[in-house]
């Protein structure tokens, strides 16, 4: 029960003491949560999306509540990759030198994906990149579609990042497609190391008094427990079609949820919205995992994941 190795998970670039990773955008760059608990309790951190230059983000309100979920349209606010390197990642390296960081890279062109991936992958504590080609809250080239919705665009963006990065690149997939494997396959062909999924669904809410959307941006990305079944479905679908590892996310709130997502095909687990409901969500899940594993006869998480992967992928 107290054997730490029971929870450890190994993925390309990621040597995780446990599979629980705060999801990008829900944990800033870690500093605020470090007031609540030691970040060394975590498997890793997916830091806030980083772009080449600083981004102000969208007008407010940026969030709204939905049944068992929420909407957000933060709009990739971040101080830009140079400040992220100089301040945020340095702070993490100084305070948590052994904690592997997954840098979420966003961009508006293949060049930007390449530049940011290259720069951020130089940070000593960044051991993997999460390539965000699926943020629903920013417009890419004004075509109304996300890069992550079009296999050709997804291929190009991934290729740019993979070529520029010195660490493995996991590509973040959007659920807003007819067939996710079209994009997954393109991303795999472009050299991605793995997938992270799912990014948010898209939804909106209206104010009954003003008739205006509650979110200034008009709509936002939907996350939280409500999307959990959709995440499970898509993770399984990709796991059956590709051999690349998947970091799963979307609505995970409890240790049971994390195990269920591993059954679907995930090797590690991102936790987003749950941090807002309870700032201790991640350490609580980590604390509860051994008991849940005991209940379901899971001795060792890596073995469990390997077993499921073998069944799904027949290898």
């Amino acid at each position: 029960m107290t054997d730490k190795n029971r929870l450890s998970i190994k993925l390309p670039g990621l040597d995780l003491k446990n599979p629980i990773i705060p999801a990008s955008g829900c944990f800033g760059f870690g500093q605020e949560y470090a007031k609540y608990y030691s970040l060394d309790e975590l498997g890793s951190i997916m830091i806030k999306a980083t772009t080449e230059n600083a981004r102000y983000g969208n007008p407010t309100p940026r969030v709204a509540e939905t049944p068992s979920g929420m909407l957000n349209a933060i709009g990739l606010q971040n101080p830009g990759v140079d400040v992220v390197l100089a301040e945020k990642l340095t702070w993490l390296a100084d305070n948590y030198p052994t904690l592997p960081i997954i840098a979420n890279v966003a961009g508006f062109s293949n060049e930007e994906y390449a530049t940011v991936s290259h720069k951020v992958s130089q940070a000593p504590n960044v051991t993997a990149i999460e390539l965000n080609i699926s943020c629903p809250n920013v417009d890419h080239g004004g075509n109304g579609l996300l890069i992550g919705q079009v296999p050709e665009l997804a291929y190009a963006a991934t290729k740019s990042a993979v070529d520029a990065s010195s660490v493995p690149v996991y590509v973040k997939l959007t659920p807003s497609v007819a067939n996710i494997n079209d994009v997954a396959q393109a991303v795999e062909e472009a050299g991605a190391t793995g997938f992270t999924m799912i990014n948010t669904l898209v939804g909106t809410r209206y104010d009954l008094k003003t008739h205006k959307p509650i979110i200034a941006n008009g709509q936002g990305g939907m996350s939280g427990p409500a999307v959990f079944p959709v995440a499970l479905k898509l993770i399984r679908q990709v796991a059956l079609a590709s051999n690349l590892p998947i970091i799963g996310m979307g609505g995970v709130t409890t240790a049971e949820d994390a195990i269920e997502m591993m059954i679907a095909g995930a090797s590690a687990i991102g936790v987003g919205t749950a941090n807002f409901t309870d700032p201790y969500a991640c350490p609580n899940i980590i604390k509860d995992l051994p008991g849940v594993m005991d209940k379901y006869g899971i001795d060792n998480l890596q073995d469990f994941v390997n077993g499921i992967q073998e069944e799904l992928r027949g290898n």
Binding site: C26, A54, T277
Partner: protein
Amino acid sequence: MEKIRKEKLVILKENLKIVSQEQIAPRIFEMKMTGEMVSDMNVPGQFLNMKVPDASKVLRRPISIAEIDKENNTCSIIYRVEGGGTAILSTLQAGDEVDVMGPQGNGFDISMVKAGDHVLVIGGGIGVPPLYQLGKELKELGAEITFLFGYANWDVIIYEKLFQGLGQVFISTDDGSYGVHGHVGHLLDALEFEPTAVFSCGAPGMLKAVNERFKEHPHAYISLESRMACGMGACYACVVPKIENPETSNLRVCEDGPVFKTGSVVL
């Protein structure tokens, strides 16, 4: 009950026990709670981020601290039932526990207030609650206080007698059912002294007026509201543009506020 102590021994999340809950006006409730967290409540104008005990509601509700009673180790909030979350909070009873993050944010800076100073406190509607604790502390410092309060109507005026015990209270109501007919701007227009400090909390329109009028005042403060997700600085949901470079830089209401100096943010 999880909690962690920072170097400064601050409790950041705790299940507070409800001591009492009372409806004090139509749709307006006063909830008194007790817990270790109270010992960290040292600044008026901070807020609590309250978990709604309902599995379908994933976001917390930020509510200002209305009163801090160190002696009895209690704190109070005063809130209006707006939607589903506050409606559920209003059904909780003495003895129930409520999961609270806080005390959160930067409160009102009263460090410059000296005995004999004449300070102005401006509030509107459900923005009034945090001004009660503020008023108590200002009075303790020996300040003379003028309160200007704007309400929708007579029904929803809260704590009037209590505020009268702290200073001079002027009230306006939108419908003229009490005090001056009109909004708090009318009271402000009639102001006849130069306050040494100004503190304000209320609706956006009122705050805009206060911000404008006391833009250059060295000790004028406004307390803002914003839709929040994390409520502790990590998600950038709640931002407000900075006055310098409003297109490129902003501040978080939850962590950098909710109280800001006048003239520092774009309303």
